[in-house]
Amino acid sequence: MLTEQQVTTLAHAMTESSHVARFIDVGYTYLGQFVAHDIVPQTNPIPGQSRDVMPYLNMDSVYGIGNQTATLLDARGLFPIRRTTPQGPEDLPRTDGVPNIPELRNDDNVIVSQLHLFWQRLHNVILQRGYASTAGEARAMTTLVFQLVVVEDYLRQVLAPAVFDSVFRFNQRWLNLPSRPIAREFAHAAFRFGHSMVRPFYESFPQKPDVTLPELFQSNRNLDPRLELDFRRMFGWPVLNNRVEDAMTIDPFITREMRQVPIPTGATINIAEMNLRAGIAAQLPPGKAYVQQLLAGPNGSKLKAAFGIRPLPDLGPLADKLMPSSGISIENLPLWPYLLLEASHASEGKHLGVVGSLICAEGLANAIAGAPHSIYRDRWFPVDEVLSWLGALGDELQEQRRVFANAAYTERTFCMRHVVELVLRNN
């Protein structure tokens, strides 16, 4: 386990620079954050403000649970989305700036808050266009579409392809992670990889050409009209060079601006330090020891044969940033940076490595399989079949797929952009 000084040293080294890539559109960074907020409890809960988080990808962060749902909807079953001014952008319903949403972390920054708003809009569109006749039906449909995007689009990009196919095509489980409570290695290490994808600034805001990362943090206040997003500039069509801004690479390097992220209490936190401390608090073993435990476990030989898993030999690009006198080596590197390093080794940061992918795949497979509304029903169904469950909404999404079909879209034939086009149509 690292000492306090080593945690500070490592966090500093990880936040000295970060790397550009062309692989993953910028919106997916925040889709990942939205997913995390739905199923992972807050690292440092604020008494009275943090909800009980269930480890099921059921959009409780949007709909709440039990009777709470009815309090969030109007008499027609719609989310009361409003404009800040007659000409202003649509925003979450707020009272004195504080949003009336179950998951207040979804107001951490203006991108995740507008993603929250986006799913509310989808719910409303489903009702207003008559795809569903009750709010309950609309919730079920919204949740299934969301899960479909998570698996077929998001995970298709961020997981090692062999792991994605194994878990989501062939329904295999390798780690047998617990469903509830959510697995520690998922919540406190692997599914924090998205922090490495955060950019130092953003160009997706039509009203403001460059928005720095600190400017995104606008908790508990009305949406600044200059920070209204164009979702078509966040989620492109699934090809390289789609002229949509990209996330940074998945590697152990976090943008420097993440050293001082403001939180609603008024303080700032260093995200890298927070993640390292979360892993320590959860008593996670170092990354190399975790891999060795896997290989020594009941599925060890199968894992080795199927994916060629072996412990990383050294700190790779992290070695240049850490003095030998720091005492930090591949032997004691915590699981979170280890898995980021694995991504760097595996694909130069294009996607997670095998171990990181296995943890994220199983964690999310469990979260979807356990949800009351789920695209998993004893097995994973093809996109066409899931869409056929959705009636006219499914037909409309199929129409989006036909209209925007392109021979180049070989891997992700259903993606967030299809849903964006559906929601923004005539809007």
Binding site: S17, S18, H19, V20, A21, R22, F23, P200, F201, P209, D210, L240, N241, R243, V244, E245, D246, T249, F253, P317, D320, E348, G349, K350
Partner: protein
């Protein structure tokens, strides 16, 4: 495909892997904070790869163009690279490649800076190794133009084609480009 003599030293030949961006790289102080995020050679632990191949325009003039860019190029910079048409020429008696029309292309602004001119020339790194160097001219309203630089290792023609005949060189992998840009 045959590579015209004036482009032989600038483009990849059959069997050449992409080359790598190397030092020296430079952005003038007045623009470094704004351009470093996008610029080749800055902020990557993994070297950026690129390859130059042959193109031909509607008037049957040959030029060099870039392809096979690695994934760690910024997409806007990659877009500029892929739009380049680098025509061979001479400058003070030395061979160069120049694209003086790139400024008319619909490339993206990078913190307000736009690429308006591109020149490739031969140079030396600090160890006196031969490098090819791209001199990029950037314009931004209200600012003086700046010229930045990155370098790349030449393709090692001599090693691959020790008995190259005089005249045009075979290059089966060179890709012709006649698409209008």
């Amino acid at each position: 495909m045959e590579i015209p003599e004036e482009l032989v030293e600038w483009v990849a030949h059959e069997g050449h892997e992409p080359t790598l961006v190397v030092n020296p790289c430079f952005i003038p102080p007045s623009a470094v904070e704004e351009l470093a995020f996008y610029h080749p050679g800055f902020g990557n632990d993994t070297a950026q790869a690129l390859r130059h191949v042959l193109g031909r325009d509607d008037n049957n003039r040959y030029f060099a163009r870039a392809d096979s860019l690695s994934g760690n190029w910024h997409e806007k910079m990659a877009d500029v690279m892929q739009r380049l048409r680098l025509y061979p020429g001479m400058e003070q008696g030395r061979p160069v490649l120049i694209d003086d029309q790139i400024g008319n292309q619909p490339t993206g602004e990078m913190h307000g800076w736009k690429v308006v001119h591109w020149k490739v020339a031969k140079g030396r790194d600090s160890a006196m190794n031969l490098v090819h160097q791209d001199f990029i001219t950037w314009a931004k309203p209200g600012q003086e133009n700046v010229v930045s630089l990155f370098s790349w290792r030449p393709y090692r023609t001599a090693m691959l084609q020790p008995q190259a005949p005089q005249g045009p060189v075979a290059n089966e992998r060179a890709v012709l480009s006649q698409v209008s840009r």
